[in-house]
Amino acid sequence: MKNWVVSMILLFGLWLLLSADLAVPILIAGFIVVFLIVLLFSVRNPVFRDIKLGPKALAYIIIYPVVFLKALVMANFDVARRVLSPSLPIRPAIVEVRTILHSPIGRLMLANSITLTPGTLTVEIQGDSLFIHWIDASATDINGATESIVRGFEKYLEVIYG
Amino acid sequence: MINSILFVVLALLALSSAITAVLAKNLVTSILAAGFVSLLASVIYLLLSAPDVAMTEAAIGSGLSTIIFFYVLNKVRRSGRHD
């Protein structure tokens, strides 16, 4: 049920953005299309089943994009520094980290966030382990890498997805 | 002004990409270069104020034909390995 409601709200928002029109026939047509899509696809793919909708989770859903955008801007200045300096200061490694998230969508969000933050790129996910290409590896053991790459996002995603 | 600069540079890039598509030894390179020609062609159509042609070129030239080429290449490779 929660899955249905969240999917319908998100898809309806996308419809509103695409049509950019608030006339009544368009709204009704959008509602019918969204309902059919959710009916056909959400039964087999319960994407939002594990999302939590308590007040703390809602607050974190609003905070998370801010944290993420800040990390994205930091990542870009990091890339700029490395690309523009003549000596190309990189020390790459592929490290293994562990995550405590269980839901697939939570892991997807975590992997995407890791890819867009300073110097890290998700290469492979196997079970609880994420293998990450790190452009400036300061720690190559599991615990040290987990501490410095994953913790910052997991703190928020754990509350939102669990 | 900027429109003419865009036009000339994009056309030169499309030309060199087409030459790459013809001369490349590797088939993957050829297909990607052909897709890149379609990409540049659709931007050029847009500069000539033909958004409908540009959209068709984007959908068919760059999207569909690249996907079909790779699909067929995959089939050919798989059947070749069994022989």
Partner: protein, 112 residues
């Protein structure tokens, strides 16, 4: 109205500088993985700022630009992850400056 166009233009120029940075990154970096890193991050923020600048200049276009921005923000990391995975799967070599490759060790341990 004029001031919005000027602010939007400056934001777009900053975005295009990040796009240039991403292009420079894929030319300068030594191996495929580092190229993916530079390419993904710089072009994501670059496109985001570029489209945001156009949105500031023309507020009526914001819904469509928002769809485009959301789409790029979600698909760009996925496609770079898929590319990195394919590169590692077919055994593209890492650069000689690499200090560790835990994934290869993991796969070799699984095969034994």
């Amino acid at each position: 109205m004029q001031i919005a166009h000027i602010i939007g233009g400056i934001v777009s120029i900053v975005g295009s500088l990040f796009l240039l940075l991403g292009a420079l990154g894929i030319v300068r970096m030594p191996d495929a993985y580092n190229r993916i890193q530079a390419g993904t991050k710089a072009t994501t923020l670059g496109t985001l700022l570029f489209l945001a600048g156009i949105g500031i200049a023309e507020p009526g276009w914001l819904p469509k630009l928002a769809v485009l921005i959301l789409f790029i923000l979600f698909t760009n990391p996925v496609s770079s992850h898929v590319l990195a995975r394919a590169a590692h799967h077919i055994g593209i070599a890492l650069t000689s400056r690499t200090v560790a490759d835990k994934l290869r060790e993991h796969e070799e341990a699984a095969r034994d």
